[in-house]
């Protein structure tokens, strides 16, 4: 799946077809890809550039790509006058806890489904898998009611809840384990008298490291970027998550576009950093399940 493997490399045809026509076709291909790339990145570049502009310049016509004058005022205002740090801590802590719990739960269940045969497996797997098709909006109202009525509505708990048992993660783990954890190793460990959980912890988990990284990034992003659930759940502004906080800048009386842009940049940084660090695992981990179906 790496960039070097080209499935349709047939040496004979490659040489036969490298004519002028093929070259111009290639030029067209690169041109299209570059244009698409610009379209994909333009909004983000625009926000980045806007975050360093004074408010009046954000909508200057024609739009300037480079901020001139260049100012850090938006960032300073965001951090000094708004509880940005608070929003950031809230979002990050919630997302980290959700990720740790979720990755562990998914690895356990993925392993259970990948390497054991047991009564009811088909049914249980089907039930798990079908929960992928339950829209969040369906549990939105009852989940809110249940958590609030049982006194578990504290954001520190309730914001984490929706992300701790994602069926997608289990499916991803199961597919990966089937492919990359050899039964022989497990059997050898059993013969040596290792406990089932010991095998999972000392043999399976380390083997899963690359895909655990992928799942971790995925879950982190799901929780960190979530909007609807915090919007419903959190009423106390001191417990706003980043998306909620940023929204208040946007819907306030004077739309604070300058702060929104700076906030968008700061909020996106951890997500992009995580993604860049673990992008290979993420991109490949995501598609393992889908390719095999």
């Amino acid at each position: 799946m790496s960039a070097t493997t080209s499935p349709i490399r047939t040496s004979t045809h490659a040489s036969v077809r490298s004519s002028a026509g093929a070259r111009s076709r290639r030029g067209l291909l690169y041109l299209t890809l570059v244009l698409l790339l610009l379209a994909f990145l333009a909004p983000l570049v625009w926000a980045l550039s806007g975050s360093f502009k004074p408010r009046g310049d954000i909508f200057a016509y024609p739009p300037k790509l480079l901020p001139d004058p260049f100012t850090l005022h938006n960032y300073r205002a965001l951090i000094e006058d708004q509880p940005f740090a608070q929003w950031f801590v809230m979002s990050t802590v919630v997302a980290v806890v959700a990720t740790v719990v979720s990755v562990f739960v998914c690895a356990l269940a993925g392993y259970g489904f990948a390497k054991f045969r047991f009564a009811g497996k088909r049914l249980l797997f089907g039930v798990m898998f079908s929960s992928l098709s339950i829209p969040f909006a369906v549990i939105l109202v009852p989940l809110f009611v249940i958590l609030v009525k049982t006194g578990l509505g504290s954001p520190w708990f309730a914001l984490i809840v929706p992300w701790v048992a994602p069926a997608f993660g289990i499916f991803m783990m199961q597919q990966y384990i089937v492919q990359s954890v050899p039964d022989s190793v497990l059997e050898a460990a059993r013969i040596d008298g290792a406990s089932e959980f010991g095998i999972f912890r000392r043999i399976v988990l380390p083997l899963l490291r690359p895909s655990l990284g992928a799942l971790a990034v995925w879950t982190f992003l799901q929780s960190y970027n979530s909007f609807l659930w915090p919007l419903v759940l959190v009423s106390d502004s001191s417990q706003y998550t980043l998306p909620l906080g940023l929204q208040t800048l946007f819907v306030s009386e004077q739309r604070q576009y300058d702060l929104v842009m700076a906030g968008a940049v700061l909020a996106v940084l951890p997500a992009v950093a995580l993604f860049v660090l673990l992008r290979k695992q993420l991109l490949e981990g995501l598609s393992t399940g889908a390719v095999k179906g």
């Binding site: 080209s6 549990i139 109202v141």
Partner: protein
Amino acid sequence: MTTAIAGPAGSTRERAHANRTAPRLKQSRAPYLFIAPFYVLYVLFMLVPVLVSLWLSLTEWVGLGTPHWVGLRNYRLLATDVSFHRALGNTGVFVMIAVFVVVPLALLIAQALNTRGLRVRDLWRTAYFVPIVVSPIIVALIFGLIFDRQFGLLNSVLRALFGTGGVDWLGDPDLAKVSIGLVMLWRWTGYLTVFFLAGLQAVPKELYEAAALDGAGRIRTFTTVTLPALKPVTAFVVVTSFIGAAQIFEEPYLLTGGGPAESTLSVTMFIYRAAFQRQQFGYAAAAAVVLFVLVFGLSQLFNRLFGIGRATS
């Protein structure tokens, strides 16, 4: 521990054999313990809420006091609620955009990225994927500014290129839908491309060689080799897009507030509005049940048609 696996497990055949004889673990509690944490959480935070939703949908409740049983009244009201019909229709449009515009475009891009000898394939793949990393609310905020009628980037560009600007992207009922579609396109295309590209790279190259030997042209190769080989990926991508688009919320909520004249109101927004702005919890639950039946039913149907999601091992 049992005879079947007593030998030195080494060759593939022996390993396969050991796997097949794993039922010795039938009596073991281990697999159940491994999957138990998931099912505990599943029951508490998924199954119970779905059942509560069903029950709430048969009541009238403002969020305080005791829900008042009204039978199927909420459903009868939904059947004649113009807003709900609009929400269903709009959501249908968004689903169509996702399945018939975003998915094919992702396939085209993946096909382009799969061209042999393409340089820095990883860079392209990564760059196209980035939008999905960005929180939907930030996407909506940025696009809100891009679509601005007077100052927005899009109108600036149009003015510079064609001398006409001032298009009311979010204020015209039809254009507002298009705008939301554009945001969906921007957010989802690169993400889906990753799946298609992985699928394309997993197609055995012998198949392409055989097609070339048979003298098949580009289009024939695509329809007879590529498409059939991509069936599982396509199925997965279509079902995921369908489920994703069917619950769209942030874009209409932040960009248009569901307007103008409810032309971008989605079902999820309808549910949110009923419950948390109008305190009609029972009514919201009924709308949620309708959404559940539609999404769950259709995706189970797709899954069955395409044969995805069966336990493998």
